[in-house]
C-alpha cells in the first residue's frame, strides 16, 4: 500500500460539503436532506437514532443544522454558534474498513496526511436523552477535534445489533481548519471567485444576533412551558397509539423547547433534572416502540 494522497483544497464551505456528499454517496449512502425539526445534534435525526435500532442494514449521510440555544453568542464569539451544521454519516453494520473510509473522506476535503497529524483519541459518546452510548474517539487533526467517531452499542436503552458506525463532522470547525480561518464568520460560504461571493457571516451573522436575543431575552418562558407539556402529551399519546415516528418528532420538539427554557436560565438545577428525565422518557419510549416494531416487521 502506498501512502495516501490528498486532493486539492475545496474552494468554499459549500464545496467542502459537496465533496463529503459525493464521497459518501459513492460509498453507497443514501444522501438525505436535513430533518425538518430543531435538533441539538445530527445524531438525533431519526435516520441515525432510530435506524440504528432493529436488524435492517442502513447507510445514510446528511447535513443537519443543529440548534443549541445556550451556545449562542450574539455573533460575537469567533468559535461559538447557536446554530451550526453537522455532517452525519451512519453505516449499519459498520464495514470493517470504516476507519479507512473515514480517513479517505478527510483526504477528499484536502487534508494532507503527510503534513497533518491525524489521531484517534479515546472519547466514549453518550446521549442519555435517547438512552444511547457507544465507544469510539474524537478525531484530532493537529490537536483540533474535527470529528466524533462512534460504534453505537445501545440506543433507547437497548443493545443494538448489528452495530452501526457513526461519524459526526463539525462542519464549521472543520472548514475553519481547512481554510485556515480564525473567525467562523469569515469562512467563504460559496466560491470567493464567483460573481456574488458570500461569507458565512453574510449568510448567518444576522441570524445569530437575533436568535441570541430570542434565546436569552425574548423567549416567552411561560408559553414554552405550556408547549413543553403539550409536546409531552402528544408524544405520549402517539406512542401509545403505536406510532413511534411522530411520537419521536414530538419528543424532539419537547427537547428543543426545554433547551430554550434552559437558555433563559429560568429553572433551578432540580427542575432541570426533572425536565431532562421527562424528555428522556419520551425519546426512549418512542425509540423502544420503534425497535419493537422494526423487529416485528423484519420477522414477517
Amino acid at each position: 500500500m502506498t501512502a495516501p494522497v490528498a486532493r486539492e483544497k475545496p474552494a468554499s464551505f459549500q464545496d467542502l460539503i459537496l465533496r463529503l456528499q459525493a464521497y459518501w454517496a459513492a460509498q453507497g449512502c443514501a444522501i438525505l436532506q436535513p430533518y425538518d425539526m430543531e435538533v441539538g445534534a445530527g445524531t438525533l435525526h431519526p435516520a441515525t437514532v432510530l435506524r440504528a435500532l432493529g436488524p435492517k442494514d442502513w447507510r445514510a449521510a446528511y447535513v443537519q443544522p443543529s440548534r443549541r440555544p445556550a451556545d449562542a453568542r450574539y455573533g460575537e464569539n469567533p468559535n461559538r454558534l447557536g446554530h451550526y451544521y453537522q455532517y452525519q454519516v451512519i453505516l449499519k453494520p459498520n464495514p470493517a474498513d470504516l476507519q479507512d473510509l473515514y480517513l479517505n473522506s478527510l483526504y477528499e476535503i484536502g487534508i494532507d496526511p503527510t503534513v497533518h497529524d491525524i489521531r484517534f483519541v479515546e472519547d466514549d459518546w453518550e446521549n442519555p436523552t435517547v438512552g444511547a452510548w457507544g465507544l469510539g474517539w474524537e478525531v484530532w487533526c493537529d490537536g483540533m477535534e474535527v470529528s466524533q467517531y462512534t460504534y453505537f452499542q445501545q440506543v433507547g436503552g437497548l443493545d443494538v445489533f448489528p452495530v452501526s458506525g457513526e461519524l459526526t463532522y463539525g462542519l464549521e470547525r472543520l472548514a475553519m481548519y481547512v481554510f485556515g480561518v480564525d473567525n467562523v464568520y469569515n469562512l467563504p460560504f460559496n466560491d470567493p471567485a464567483s460573481q456574488t461571493p458570500l461569507s458565512y457571516g453574510d449568510v448567518f451573522l444576522q441570524n445569530e444576533i437575533e436568535q441570541s436575543a430570542f434565546n436569552f431575552e425574548l423567549a416567552d418562558v411561560e408559553m414554552l412551558q405550556t408547549w413543553f407539556s403539550g409536546c409531552e402529551k402528544q408524544s405520549t399519546a402517539l406512542r401509545e397509539a403505536g406510532k413511534p415516528l411522530p411520537a419521536y418528532d414530538y419528543a424532539l420538539k419537547a427537547s428543543h423547547v426545554f433547551n430554550l427554557i434552559d437558555a433563559r436560565g429560568a429553572i433551578s438545577p432540580t427542575e432541570r433534572q426533572a425536565f431532562i428525565a421527562r424528555v428522556r422518557d419520551l425519546a426512549r419510549g418512542a425509540a423502544e416502540k420503534w425497535a419493537e416494531q422494526e423487529a416485528e416487521r423484519a420477522a414477517v
Binding site: P93, N94, A96, V121, G143
Partner: protein, 785 residues
C-alpha cells in the same frame, strides 16, 4: 527451541488501557502455557496505540508426555467396587490396571493413563482464542455483525509459532503472519516469521516503535532537546508522558508557540488547559522559572514540511482554548467570592448532609473552634472557611475541576488586594495582626456583603498579609491530596483544612457511608490520612474525640434538617394540591421535636460517642499506616493506642519513647519481667476462675524482695506520673526502668505460688501492680517479643 509471536492488532486502544492490557495478555498466555505443562524461556510484551504483542522463546515443539495415575480398590475388593473403578478410569478390563503393593494396605489396583504430549500449535490454537474471548477490558464493545468483544474492532491476529502461522479463527477473523505499520509512513502489511523480524520490520519499514519504554525515552529526550535548542526548559509531567506514549506509534516532538498575552492567566490554568484538552507539555524559561509562551506537542508523523503545519494548527487550537479560559477568568474576577458562595446553597454536598453552603457553615464553626489550637486567629479562620468553597461555582472550576482551591486563591487575591478607595484604606488596621472589626464577622456571607463598605465583604478591611493568609488557606485547604502532596503549614490554612476534612469524615460516618474493602468512593481514607499528616507534621495538639462528638451533633442536625425539608416540601405540595391546611404545622412540629430529641437527648450523646469511637479507630488505622511507612513498629502503636489516647502528637511521642526504651537492656528486661508476671497472672486467674483484685497488703510481706518491689513500684509510679504530666515520656520510661532490678529480684527470690493462700493472693496482687504501673505508658501485653 521454538518461539511464539502473537500480535493482536486493532483500531486505536485508549492510551490509559494499554500498559495493563499488555501485562494481562502476557500473564494470560504464560499462565495458559504453564497450565498445559509447557515450559518456556524469555517473554517479551509490548503495547501501543494499535497493538498488543507477546513473544515467548524457549518453547518445546510439543508438550511433555504425562502419565496420570488413579488409585483403585484392593485386589480382593468386591466385584462391584472393581467394576466401578474400571468405569471411572475408562478401562475395559482389570488386566489393563497395574497392581501395586503397600505394606499397610496390601495389594491394590492402579490405573495408569499415558497422556502423550500435544504439539504446541494445537495448544496455542486452543489457548489464544480462549484468551481473546475472555480478555478483560475496562470497557469493551461489539462491532459489525460480530459477537466478539474487544476494546475497539480487532483487525488482525498475527500468530506465528516456530516460523509458521498457527491457524485458528475467532469470530470470523483468521489468524495470519502479517502485521501492519504506521498508516502514512509504512502501512504494509508485512509478513514476519519471528520476533526479531517483527521488531526490525516495524521499526525500519513500518515506522512503529513497538516498546513503550523506547517511545517514552524518545519523547522525553526529543522534548528536552527541542526546548534546549530554543533556550527553554521542559516542565516535566510523568502522567502526561505516559499518556502520550500511548498516543503515538512514531513519536515526533514539535515545539509550538503561543501568544505571550495568554501568560497573564494563572500558570496553573495555562498548564492545565494545555494538558487536559491538548495533551501538550508546558515549557518554562530557565532564567525566570516562569512559563514561556511555548508548548511541546507530540505528533505521530514525520511531516513533509518539517512540522510547520502541525505547529501552526496546534497553536491555533490552543489559542481558542485559552481564549475560553480567559473569558472565564475575566468573568469570574468580576464576581465577588461571597456572591459565588451564595450559589453553594443550590448544590448538594451529599443529599443526606445538605448543600455545600450547609457544609460551609459547619466547617466555618469548626475552623473557628480549631483556630486557637493551631495558632490561628479564629475570625481569620472563619472568614477563610466561608470563602474556601466559593470557587466551586466559578466558570473556571466548572471547566477545570482540578483547579478548585487554586482559583479561589487567585480570586481572593484579586478581590482582596484590588486597589481600594483611600478613605477605607485609612480606616483599615495597619500591620499583620487581627483586624479591628474581626469580632463583627457576619454570621452569613449574605448579610456581610451588603453591610460592608464597598461590598468587599469577608475580604474587606484586611491588611494585605491577612488577605494573603486567607487566600492561601483557600488554596491549600484541600491539601494534602496524596502521599506526595505537601500539607498546609500556615495556621489559618491548617484550621480550615482540618475542619473541612473532619466535617466530611464525621458527616459520612453519621450517615454510615464508610469505606469498605477497596471501595472508598468519597476518598475518606485520604481525608483521614490528611488529618493525621497535618496534625503530626505541624505538631498540632488536639484531642480528636471531643472534636468529633461536637461535629457529630452538627451533622445530625443537618441530616434531620434534610429530612425535615423533604417532609416540608411534600407537605407544601400536598397543601397546594388539595388545600390540606394544618398538615404543614403538624409535620413541622413533629420533625422539630425529633431534631430536639436527637440533638439534646441522651441517646444521641451515646450514639455520638459510639460513632466517634468507630471513627477514632479509623484514624488509628491511618496513623498506623503512616507510622509504619515511617518505620515504626506495629505492635508498639497498638500498645499505645490501647491507652485510649486521642492526641496524635502524644501518641507518636509515646511510641517513639517506648521504642527507644525497649532498645535498652533495662527496657528489654522489664518487658520480660512483665511477660512473666502476666503469664503467671493469666494462669492463676484461670485456675481460680476469678480476676486478681484488690490492693497489696504491706503487712503480709514476708520477704525483703516483696517489700522492695512494692516500694519501687510506688516510687516509680509517682515519678512516672509526674513525668507524664509534663509529657516527658523518656523520663517516665526511665522511672519505670528502675523497676527492672526489683522485678528480677522478686522473681529470683520469691515463690508466688505460696502454700499460704493469703500470701499467694497478696503476691498475685503485687504482680497486678506491676501490670498497672506499666500501663501508664503502654499496654505491654500488645508488645511482641
Amino acid at each position: 527451541m521454538a518461539e511464539l509471536l502473537l500480535e493482536l492488532f486493532s483500531e486505536e486502544i485508549p492510551a490509559r488501557m494499554q500498559a495493563k492490557a499488555e501485562a494481562d495478555l502476557r500473564d494470560a498466555l504464560t499462565k495458559g502455557l504453564g497450565e498445559a505443562g509447557v515450559e518456556f524461556g524469555d517473554v517479551v510484551a509490548r503495547s501501543g496505540p494499535r497493538r498488543l504483542m507477546v513473544a515467548i522463546s524457549g518453547l518445546p515443539e510439543k508438550s511433555a508426555d504425562v502419565s496420570e495415575e488413579k488409585k483403585g480398590p484392593k485386589t480382593d475388593a468386591p466385584e462391584k467396587a472393581i467394576e466401578g473403578f474400571l468405569r471411572g478410569a475408562g478401562l475395559s478390563s482389570i488386566d489393563q490396571a497395574e497392581v501395586r503393593s503397600d505394606p499397610k494396605k496390601g495389594d491394590f489396583y492402579v490405573a495408569v493413563r499415558e497422556i502423550p504430549g500435544r504439539p504446541l500449535e494445537d495448544i496455542i490454537a486452543g489457548l489464544v482464542p480462549e484468551i481473546v474471548r475472555g480478555f478483560h477490558w475496562p470497557k469493551s464493545m461489539r462491532w459489525g455483525r460480530g459477537e466478539l468483544r474487544w476494546v475497539r474492532p480487532l483487525q488482525r491476529i498475527l500468530c506465528v509459532f516456530n516460523g509458521k502461522t498457527v491457524e485458528f479463527e475467532i469470530d470470523g477473523l483468521k489468524s495470519g503472519n502479517e502485521t501492519e505499520g504506521h498508516r502514512v509512513h509504512g502501512r504494509g502489511p508485512f509478513k514476519v516469521s519471528s520476533y526479531a523480524e517483527y521488531k526490525e520490520t516495524l521499526q525500519e519499514k513500518g515506522f512503529v516503535a513497538i516498546a513503550r519504554e523506547d517511545r517514552r525515552l524518545l519523547i522525553e529526550e526529543q522534548a528536552q532537546m527541542v526546548c534546549a535548542q530554543a533556550g527553554l526548559e521542559l516542565v516535566e509531567d510523568k502522567g502526561l508522558l505516559e499518556e502520550v506514549t500511548g498516543l503515538a506509534e512514531w513519536p515526533v516532538v514539535i515545539l509550538g508557540e503561543m501568544d505571550p498575552a495568554f501568560l497573564s492567566l494563572p500558570p496553573e490554568v495555562v498548564q492545565l488547559s494545555m494538558r487536559t484538552h491538548q495533551k501538550y507539555f508546558a515549557v518554562r524559561d530557565p532564567k525566570t522559572g516562569e512559563l514561556a509562551p511555548n508548548f511541546v506537542v507530540v505528533a505521530n508523523i514525520e511531516a513533509s514540511d518539517g512540522g510547520k503545519a502541525i505547529a501552526a494548527g496546534n497553536s491555533r487550537v490552543l489559542s481558542a482554548r485559552l481564549d475560553d479560559a480567559r473569558f472565564f477568568w475575566e468573568q469570574d474576577k468580576a464576581t465577588p467570592l461571597e456572591k459565588m458562595a451564595e450559589k453553594l446553597a443550590t448544590i448538594d454536598f451529599k443529599k443526606e448532609l445538605g448543600t455545600i453552603a450547609d457544609k460551609v457553615e459547619r466547617v466555618a464553626a469548626l475552623a473557628r473552634e480549631l483556630a486557637p489550637k493551631v495558632g490561628a486567629d479564629p475570625d481569620m479562620a472563619e472568614r477563610a472557611a466561608r470563602l474556601a468553597k466559593a470557587d466551586l461555582v466559578s466558570g473556571m472550576v466548572g471547566e477545570f475541576p482540578e483547579l478548585q482551591g487554586v482559583m479561589g486563591r487567585y480570586y481572593a487575591l484579586e478581590q482582596g488586594l484590588a486597589p481600594i478607595d483611600p478613605h477605607s484604606r485609612a480606616t483599615s488596621p495597619a500591620g499583620g495582626g487581627r483586624s479591628a472589626d474581626a469580632d463583627g464577622v457576619p454570621s452569613s456571607p449574605v448579610d456581610g456583603g451588603g453591610a460592608r463598605q464597598g461590598g468587599g465583604g469577608l475580604l474587606s478591611g484586611l491588611a494585605e498579609d491577612n488577605v494573603r493568609k486567607i487566600a492561601d488557606a483557600i488554596g491549600d485547604h484541600y491539601k494534602p491530596q496524596g502521599p506526595s502532596d505537601a500539607v498546609p503549614t500556615e495556621p489559618v490554612a491548617i484550621a480550615v483544612a482540618l475542619a473541612d476534612k473532619l466535617d466530611t469524615l464525621v458527616g459520612f460516618w453519621a450517615i454510615d457511608e464508610k469505606p469498605t474493602g477497596s471501595k472508598d468512593p468519597f476518598a475518606l481514607r485520604r481525608a483521614a490520612l490528611g488529618v493525621v499528616r497535618i496534625v503530626l507534621e505541624n505538631g498540632v495538639r488536639l484531642r480528636l474525640a471531643p472534636m468529633i462528638v461536637a461535629q457529630y451533633e452538627l451533622e445530625l442536625f443537618a441530616i434531620e434538617q434534610q429530612k425535615y425539608n423533604k417532609q416540608f416540601d411534600a407537605a407544601s405540595k400536598a397543601e397546594a394540591d388539595s388545600d390540606l391546611s394544618g398538615l404543614i404545622e403538624m409535620v413541622t412540629d413533629n420533625s422539630m421535636s425529633i431534631v430536639d430529641e436527637i440533638i439534646f437527648g441522651s441517646d444521641a450523646k451515646l450514639q455520638a460517642w459510639s460513632h466517634s469511637k468507630d471513627l477514632l479507630a479509623f484514624f488509628a488505622d491511618r496513623l498506623k499506616q503512616y507510622l509504619r511507612d515511617q518505620g515504626a513498629r506495629h505492635d508498639l502503636i497498638d500498645a499505645v493506642f490501647a491507652l485510649g489516647e486521642d492526641d496524635l502528637v502524644l501518641i507518636v511521642k509515646r511510641v517513639e519513647a517506648l521504642a527507644a526504651f525497649l532498645e535498652t537492656e533495662d527496657g528489654a528486661n522489664l518487658l520480660a519481667g512483665y511477660k512473666r508476671a502476666a503469664n503467671i497472672l493469666k494462669a492463676e486467674e484461670k485456675k481460680d476462675g476469678a480476676a486478681v483484685e484488690g490492693d497489696v497488703d504491706a503487712s503480709l510481706f514476708e520477704q525483703e524482695e516483696e517489700r522492695a518491689l512494692h516500694t519501687a513500684i510506688e516510687t516509680a509510679v509517682s515519678r512516672a506520673d509526674a513525668a507524664l504530666e509534663a509529657e516527658d515520656f523518656e523520663a517516665a520510661m526511665a522511672a519505670l526502668a528502675e523497676l527492672r532490678g526489683p522485678v528480677d529480684a522478686f522473681f529470683d527470690g520469691v515463690t508466688v505460688n505460696a502454700d499460704d493462700e493469703k500470701l499467694r493472693a497478696n503476691r498475685l496482687r503485687l504482680l497486678t501492680s506491676i501490670r498497672a504501673a506499666l500501663f501508664c505508658v503502654a499496654d505491654f501485653s500488645k508488645i511482641a517479643g
